[in-house]
């Protein structure tokens, strides 16, 4: 790739999804991340029980992400041909798992009556 700058990358993603959908997705991801950070700062720590419950959703996130990539292409598991393919597949799963865990943790932490520091 020539000049793989952030600007190029953004332009490519805008073309891939359309500018509206892409920036909407970026906004949603940013809102979830900021809310997660807000919850962390508010609670001063990761709340163990909430985290364990959130982590239960991780396999679902992993499978959903892998399924989504397969759904988007004319290819499947049998096309995995080299180490980098396996790595990308695993990375997709990890991204889905981490993403959904963060989302579920944030939602659980924000639910009324679930505040761990409540006394």
């Amino acid at each position: 790739m020539k000049d793989l700058t952030l600007e190029t990358l953004l332009a490519v993603f805008e073309e891939m999804f359309g500018p509206l959908l892409f920036w909407a997705m970026v906004a949603v991801a940013a809102i979830i991340t900021i809310t997660f950070v807000f919850v962390l700062i508010r609670d001063r720590s990761l709340e163990g029980r909430t985290l364990v419950r959130a982590e239960l959703s991780a396999p679902i996130g992993a499978l959903a992400a892998i399924w989504f990539v397969q759904f988007m292409t004319n290819s499947g598991y049998s096309d995995v041909g080299g180490p980098v393919d396996l790595f990308v597949l695993l990375l997709t799963g990890v991204a889905g798992a981490v993403g959904l865990t963060i989302l579920v943790y944030t939602v659980l932490a924000l639910l009324p009556g679930k505040h761990p520091r409540q006394n």
Binding site: L6, T8, V12, E15, R42, T73, S75, G82, V84, V88
Partner: protein, 439 residues
């Protein structure tokens, strides 16, 4: 709710974090160079990948320049998509957009084709008789598929009698898929060829051969199918290391190779293709074949003083440019980019992506009276599809060196799913970003 004091503290911390994030985002953008003010008249012939990308980049970089794009075609075609359409993986409209939607504001689009170039008088005359004068002329006309050179063949036959013509356009690629689909159901002899001229995407004939074999295998009809590849010379691909890899894959996949065969005629009634070879004319039977004609420069360049004057390309008429700067050898105010440029191995969208910034930089340097160091090293790339779901990301330069973008991560001669994902998902988006001058 938490303790009010805690909440205030957290809110402050949170706002601080958000502000920090914004500040960081603000500094990550690249500082833009100031626009160059000029009243130069720049005429670009052709609104394909190269012409459109250059128009956008120049419009972005120059202030006050009069940029005129000359092209009669209302449709813009994403040509790297033709193979996917021809393999039934995408519909015909996957490759179709409009010329107008990619053009920058503030340029003039003359929707006629160019009929004549007078480099001495520095004028271009359009088919409608419009005369345009220029300070800089950029040839981005693309090339001409010389279907008439294949005796007995005409495009209205595509899709019938086992005839495919993936190069002819998205609709013909879709018809080609119908013929390939039928062939891989019924069985018979598949015959694949490529012309002996310079050609756009020299990997595409090989990809289509691989895809046909893959479909036959998937459908369970491989045992009823024989596949022959008629190579135009003594090799399958101009880069020796890639050639050797493809030869090995062909052997593994049971694809037979006949070397030094150049298609000259088709007899659709008898289903016989005739080839010129060192031993004279050779006939080969087929039940399915993908016709790819010789490729030459469009008449407006070929019949002008801008075409090559000697050497192997004399009869093909490509623009006579310096292969490092894309500048014309005899007329320094003229550049050629994309398929029309008389450079080796340069007829792909990937080449365009590398050539356009070089030509742009030299034009801007000329305007500002400076010298540009920009050089095109012949980089091109070919996502060599070997089956549905796998490809080899082959990248190379003028000197036949492999130039992998992701060395040590994506192996260029390995059949990978990741390379397929790039072709299927990322390539069109990158192409579109390039058209807008953003990639």
């Amino acid at each position: 709710m938490g303790h009010p004091q805690n909440l205030t503290a957290s809110r402050r911390a949170f706002l601080g974090f958000a502000a920090g994030g914004l500040a960081l985002a603000g500094t990550s953008g690249q500082a833009r160079a100031e626009n160059v003010k000029t009243s130069a008249k720049i005429v670009i012939l052709g609104a394909g990948a190269a012409g459109t990308a250059l128009a956008n980049r120049l419009a972005d970089r120059l202030d006050g320049a009069r940029i005129t794009l000359v092209d009669g075609r209302k449709r813009h075609l994403y040509q790297p998509g033709f193979t996917l359409i021809g393999a039934g993986l995408k519909p015909a409209n996957y490759s179709v957009s409009t010329t107008a939607q990619w053009l920058p504001r503030g340029i003039d689009w003359v929707d006629e084709s160019a009929a004549n170039i007078d480099p001495e008088a520095r004028t271009v005359t359009t088919r409608g008789g419009k005369k345009l004068s220029y300070d800089f002329l950029v040839l981005a006309t693309g090339l001409k598929l010389d279907w008439g050179a294949i005796e007995g063949f005409s495009l209205d036959m595509v899709g019938t009698n086992g005839l495919a013509a993936v190069y002819a356009g998205p609709e013909y690629a879709a018809k080609s898929w119908q013929a390939m689909d039928r062939f891989t159901d019924e069985g018979g002899i598949g015959l694949f060829t490529r012309p002996a001229t310079e050609m756009k995407c020299a990997g595409a004939p090989l990809k289509y051969t691989f895809l046909t074999e893959d479909y036959a295998t998937r459908k369970g009809s491989r045992g009823r199918i024989e596949i022959n590849y008629a190579a135009h010379s003594g090799s399958l691909f101009s880069v020796p290391i890639v050639n050797e890899k493809v030869r090995m894959l062909f052997e593994q996949r049971g694809i037979d190779i006949a070397y030094d065969r150049v298609l000259k005629a088709i007899d659709p009634g008898r289903r016989i293709a005739t080839f010129a070879s060192p031993e004279g004319d050779v006939e080969m039977p087929y039940d399915f074949t993908n016709v790819i004609p010789p490729m030459v420069a469009p008449d407006v360049v070929r019949d002008s003083p801008l075409a090559v004057q000697s050497g192997q390309w004399l009869d093909q008429g490509w623009a006579d440019v310096d292969k490092s700067t894309m500048r014309h050898i005899r007329y320094p105010e003229i550049f050629a980019i994309g398929d029309i440029a008389g450079v080796p191995k340069g007829k792909t969208a990937a080449s365009v992506k590398w050539q356009v910034p070089v030509a742009e930089d030299h034009i801007v340097a000329d305007i500002t009276g400076t010298l540009s160091p920009a050089i095109y090293n012949g980089y091109t790339s070919c996502p060599m599809i070997t089956r549905i779901g796998r490809a080899m990301l082959v990248e190379f330069d003028y000197d036949n060196n492999l130039t992998p973008s992701f060395p040590g991560v994506i192996a260029p001669l390995e059949e990978l799913w990741v390379s397929w994902l790039m072709k299927e998902i990322a390539l069109k988006a990158t192409y579109n970003a390039m058209l807008r001058g953003k990639a």
